[in-house]
Structures are given as structure tokens and as C-alpha cells.
């Protein structure tokens, strides 16, 4: 979501000539306002639960309890094995999914025949909730990391596949024709023109896959798993240690947001010519 910059056109519902004072704020002022706002919300939250006792702290742990919960998890060392198993499963699943997605994407996108054959299947499966496979994955892959890796794989495979296909298909025809005129073989065309042109799309797919793979990880670990961040959330919630559960949830938020920002950064540095909107 974009925050309006100072020179952006006025919001659609206002005449284009009048800009509101909000749009004339600088980046620093915006950051200051948002920070202040977050602090106010946290303070209110704390007051409502702790001081006014309007809500039970078990149901909605105030920030102090969440911080306490995080400290507990770290000092007792309980966090680390779960964090470790989540990270391993995520990395393996993501790399497998990304590799499969790029490979298949290049093949499917590159040949219009294969594309025509595959699209019905791909689009039919598009809307399916793949997490429905979670209970089945336990039967197929056992109770250890197998089903979790499987779920991360499925989750990250799809965005990479779709974006790679789109990328291969939007290679600029005139550039290919020019290369052909200069005597490039099909392999050379593929290597020197199609691949670099597809690259930004692949990056977009990888970026989306980071977030969606994370969903796969958590979903995989919420039920039927003994280790992992998702399992930790379920465990702490069912033992009513909601402060710790919230702390883990916030950890997953930080992980997801951090990773996607990292991917954004990588994408921008690799393909600085990209000003266009992502797919």
C-alpha cells in the first residue's frame, strides 16, 4: 500500500487542485506521527487491561505481559529449538518450492503447447485451499518435519510458478526478433534474452512466495506438530499462557515482514530499472 508522497496527486475524492495538510508532511513528520500513534495505542491497551481490568489479561494480554512472555521464552531457552526447527523446515521447503516453480515455470511458459495444456489444471487448482492437504500430509510424510516441509513447498511453489510463467511470456518480441536477425540460435535467445527478461518476474514471485511460504509453515505447525513456532503458539494458547503465545505471534510477524522487506531490497538492487507495479 502506498502512502501518498508530497508530489502525488490528491486523493481521488478531492479536487486535484487542493492538497490536504496531511500530504504536505515530510517523511520524518509522518514517521513521528505514526510512532506516537503506536505508543498511544500500546499505552491505552496496557491501561484498559491492567488498570481498568475491562478485559481479562488471559484473553488479551497487555504489552507488559507480552514482553514478559517473550523474556520467559528466551530465558528458559524454550524458544530456540522451536525457532530452529521452523527455520530449517522453512528454508528447505522454500528452496524446493522456488526451484520447482522456476523450472516448471520456464518450461511451461516457454512452450505455448505445454502452456495451453497446463493452464486448465493450474487455474483449477488456483482457488483451492492447499492447507486442506495438511492432515493428509501427516499420513503421507509422518509426524516429523516432513509434512511441514511439504506444506511450505506447496505454498511457495505456486506464486513462483505463476509469476515465472508470466515473465517468460512477456519477453519483448522485437528484441527476440532482433536477436534472430543477428543469427542467435534458440539456446542463445533463451539464455541471453528470455532469462534476463524473466528475472524481475521471478523475483516478484520469490517475494510473494516468502510470505505465502510463511503461512504454509505456520499452518503446517499449528496442528499435528510438536516443534516449531506454530506448535508453540498452539501449545501456549491451550495452556492459557497467552502472553507467550502473543510473543510468538509477534515473532512471526517480525519474521515475515523482515523477510519480505529483505526481498524487496534485493529486488530493487538487482533490477533498479523496475519502476512498474508488481504482478
Amino acid at each position: 500500500m502506498t502512502t501518498s508522497t508530497a508530489e502525488a496527486p490528491a486523493s481521488a475524492l478531492r479536487p486535484a487542485t487542493r492538497t490536504s495538510w496531511v500530504q504536505r508532511l515530510t517523511g520524518r513528520q509522518r514517521a513521528a506521527i505514526v510512532t506516537a500513534e503506536v505508543l498511544i495505542v500500546l499505552a491505552l491497551w496496557e491501561v484498559i487491561v491492567t488498570v481498568l481490568a475491562l478485559v481479562s489479561p488471559v484473553f488479551l494480554p497487555p504489552p507488559s505481559r507480552i514482553v514478559q512472555g517473550f523474556a520467559d521464552l528466551v530465558t528458559t531457552g524454550e524458544l530456540w529449538p522451536h525457532l530452529g526447527s521452523s527455520t530449517t523446515a522453512y528454508v528447505i521447503g522454500y528452496l524446493l518450492g522456488a526451484a520447482a516453480g522456476v523450472t516448471l515455470g520456464l518450461i511451461i511458459g516457454g512452450s505455448s503447447l505445454i502452456y495451453k495444456l497446463s493452464t486448465p489444471i493450474i487455474w483449477s487448482l488456483y482457488a483451492t485451499p492447499w492447507i486442506a492437504l495438511r492432515p493428509l500430509a501427516t499420513v503421507w510424510f509422518g509426524f516429523a518435519a516432513g509434512p511441514i516441509i511439504f506444506l511450505v513447498f506447496i505454498a511457495s511453489f505456486y506464486p513462483v510458478l505463476l509469476n515465472t510463467i508470466a515473465g517468460v511470456q512477456t519477453v519483448n518480441r522485437s528484441v527476440i526478433n532482433a536477436a534472430r536477425v543477428f543469427g542467435a540460435s534458440r539456446v542463445e535467445v533463451f539464455r541471453k534474452i528470455a532469462l534476463p527478461s524473466t528475472f524481475p518476474y521471478v523475483l516478484t514471485g520469490l517475494r510473494h512466495a516468502v510470505v505465502i511460504g510463511m503461512i504454509g509453515l505456520i499452518v503446517g505447525e499449528l496442528t499435528g506438530a510438536s516443534t516449531g513456532l506454530g506448535a508453540l503458539i498452539t501449545l501456549k494458547t491451550s495452556t492459557f499462557k497467552t502472553g507467550q503465545a502473543f510473543a510468538v505471534i509477534i515473532l512471526t510477524i517480525i519474521w515475515t515482514v523482515g523477510l519480505s522487506q529483505l526481498m524487496n531490497h534485493i529486488a530493487k538492487s538487482r533490477s533498479p530499472w523496475l519502476g512498474r507495479k508488481e504482478i
Binding site: P129, P135, L217, V219, L222, G230
Partner: protein, 283 residues
């Protein structure tokens, strides 16, 4: 934009005469669905061959289509299926409709007011980027095993793509169109109805599409976490008792449901916003 054909299109008031690009010819669409059907049949036949006849994979682990169809028939006729199906559909429908109404409203508020965008935007953005499934156990803790927690899960998961896409739709209205409208004397109401809303519509519909996908994930995960009834419960129970044919039958039903919902939305999109090319936001 398509060529100007009649002066009444240029008036900011008066009868709406926006030309529609021709829908894909019926023959083309029938051919597409024919291809889908043919492919599905071929794949199912191969599957049946590989598992049922040749037993390349143990049919206990991965039943052939014949077993799955048998399970479906049993579940349906035995009356086991219907209560779970209705429960899930009900949760999804209520949650999704709430998400659409609230999401579009919030999206319009956020997109239209730079102040609200500044204040609420960061929260929306952070929640949009988080794996909301992580909240599922907490939702069951708060709202119990009944319909409420599933409805809220669907609402929670589906509302964010709708908000974000609505905001984007509002913010990418072409300013020159707005200025052209004002030149022709359109007031704020006419501008909103004739320029902003149609321009926003494709984005909102894409948001609704993503919302369907997320919403279905919400129902299933909500039911996994704890529920009295529902397709998710049926699925996890069948799987835990190693009744794979039953489990895969439920998966087939889920595939059918979610694709039907998506298909309905695509049809709505073709009627309401035909100028938008399909396959825009792939996620």
C-alpha cells in the same frame, strides 16, 4: 480508451452509454471448458491406472478416483456430509460477506482520506503482511468451537486483501480523467459515480478474488483448530483414522466449492467490469 462514438458519452450526466468490448465468443469459452474437462478426465484416468490397476502407489495411502467417488457417495447418502458442508458454507458466507462490506468501506475511507491513510495505514499494512493463521488458536480461545470463531477467521483473513486492493483502486484513478470530468461540468457525485467507481471496480474485484482464496483457508484452518462441525473437522478426523478415501473426498469437495466461488466472481467481473484483462493480480 475505446474510440468516441457518440457525444452523449462525453456528458457527465445523462444516460450511461459506455460501450462494452465484445465478450469472448461462446465457442471460445465452450472450447476452454471442454479442454479443462478433457484434461481432468485424462489425468483421472491415468491416476486410476497408476494406483488402482498397476498399484504403483499403495492405494491405502493415495486412493484412486474410483475409491474417492465411492466415499463421496457414501458420505452424501449416509447423511454425514450435509451438516458439515452446511456448517462450513455458512461460516464462509457470513464471514466473507462481512469482509466484503467492511473491507470496501474501510478501503474507501482509507483511500479517500490521506489522514486516515497515514494513521491507520501502517496497522493495515503490517496486518496484511502477517500470517494471520497464527491467530487461529487465539480466536478459538476467544470465540469457542462454534460458528463465531470460523466467521471471524474468514473475516480476518479475507478483509485485508479487499482493503488493500480497494485503496489501490482509489489511488490509481487517472487524474486526467478526473480533470476531464470536471471540465465537462461534473460535480463530486457525478465524478464519483461515473469516473471513480468504474475505475476502482477492477481493483476491488481482484481484492474480492484474493479474499475468496484467503477466506477458504480461514474456514479450513479455523476448523482444524477446533470445531464442533465442518468440512475441516471431517477431513482431519478421516485422515487421523487413515480413511484416505474419505479425506480425499472432502478435499475434492473443497476444490469444487472454492473454484465455484471463484467462478461466480469471475462471471460477475465479466459482466460488471469487462474491460479488465484477466490474470492481473496473480495472487
Amino acid at each position: 480508451m475505446t474510440a468516441v462514438s457518440s457525444p452523449s458519452r462525453l456528458r457527465a450526466s445523462g444516460k450511461r452509454r459506455s460501450p462494452r468490448p465484445p465478450a469472448p465468443p461462446l465457442r471460445g469459452r465452450v472450447k476452454w471448458w471442454g479442454a479443462v474437462a478433457a484434461e481432468v478426465v485424462i489425468l483421472l484416468a491415468l491416476w486410476e491406472l497408476a494406483v488402482g490397476t498397476l498399484e504403483l502407489i499403495d492405494p491405502e495411502f493415495f486412493p484412486p478416483p474410483s475409491a474417492i467417488v465411492g466415499s463421496l457417495a457414501d458420505l452424501a447418502s449416509g447423511g454425514r456430509l450435509l451438516p458439515h458442508l452446511l456448517f462450513s458454507l455458512q461460516s464462509f458466507a457470513i464471514g466473507y460477506l462481512l469482509a466484503v462490506v467492511l473491507g470496501i468501506t474501510l478501503g474507501i475511507m482509507l483511500g479517500g482520506s490521506p489522514l486516515l491513510n497515514l494513521l491507520l495505514g501502517p496497522f493495515v499494512w503490517v496486518l496484511y503482511a502477517t500470517p494471520k493463521v497464527a491467530f487461529a488458536p487465539l480466536l478459538v480461545l476467544w470465540l469457542g468451537f462454534g460458528v463465531e470463531s470460523k466467521v471471524f477467521m474468514v473475516l480476518f483473513m479475507a478483509i485485508f486483501p479487499i482493503i488493500v486492493n480497494t485503496v489501490e483502486g482509489l489511488q490509481t484513478v487517472d487524474p486526467s480523467l478526473l480533470r476531464a470530468g470536471r471540465v465537462y461540468g461534473a460535480g463530486r457525485l457525478a465524478l464519483t459515480v461515473k469516473v471513480i467507481l468504474p475505475s476502482m471496480l477492477p481493483f476491488v474485484l481482484v481484492g474480492l478474488q484474493v479474499g475468496i482464496v484467503r477466506g477458504f483457508i480461514g474456514v479450513v484452518i479455523g476448523e482444524f483448530m477446533g470445531s464442533t462441525q465442518g468440512l475441516g473437522i471431517l477431513l482431519s478426523q478421516s485422515a487421523s483414522m487413515f480413511q484416505m478415501a474419505d479425506a480425499l473426498a472432502v478435499v475434492a469437495i473443497l476444490i469444487l466449492l472454492s473454484n465455484s466461488a471463484m467462478g461466480i466472481l469471475m462471471a460477475v467481473k465479466r459482466v460488471v467490469a469487462p474491460w479488465h484483462k484477466p490474470g492481473g493480480d496473480l495472487l
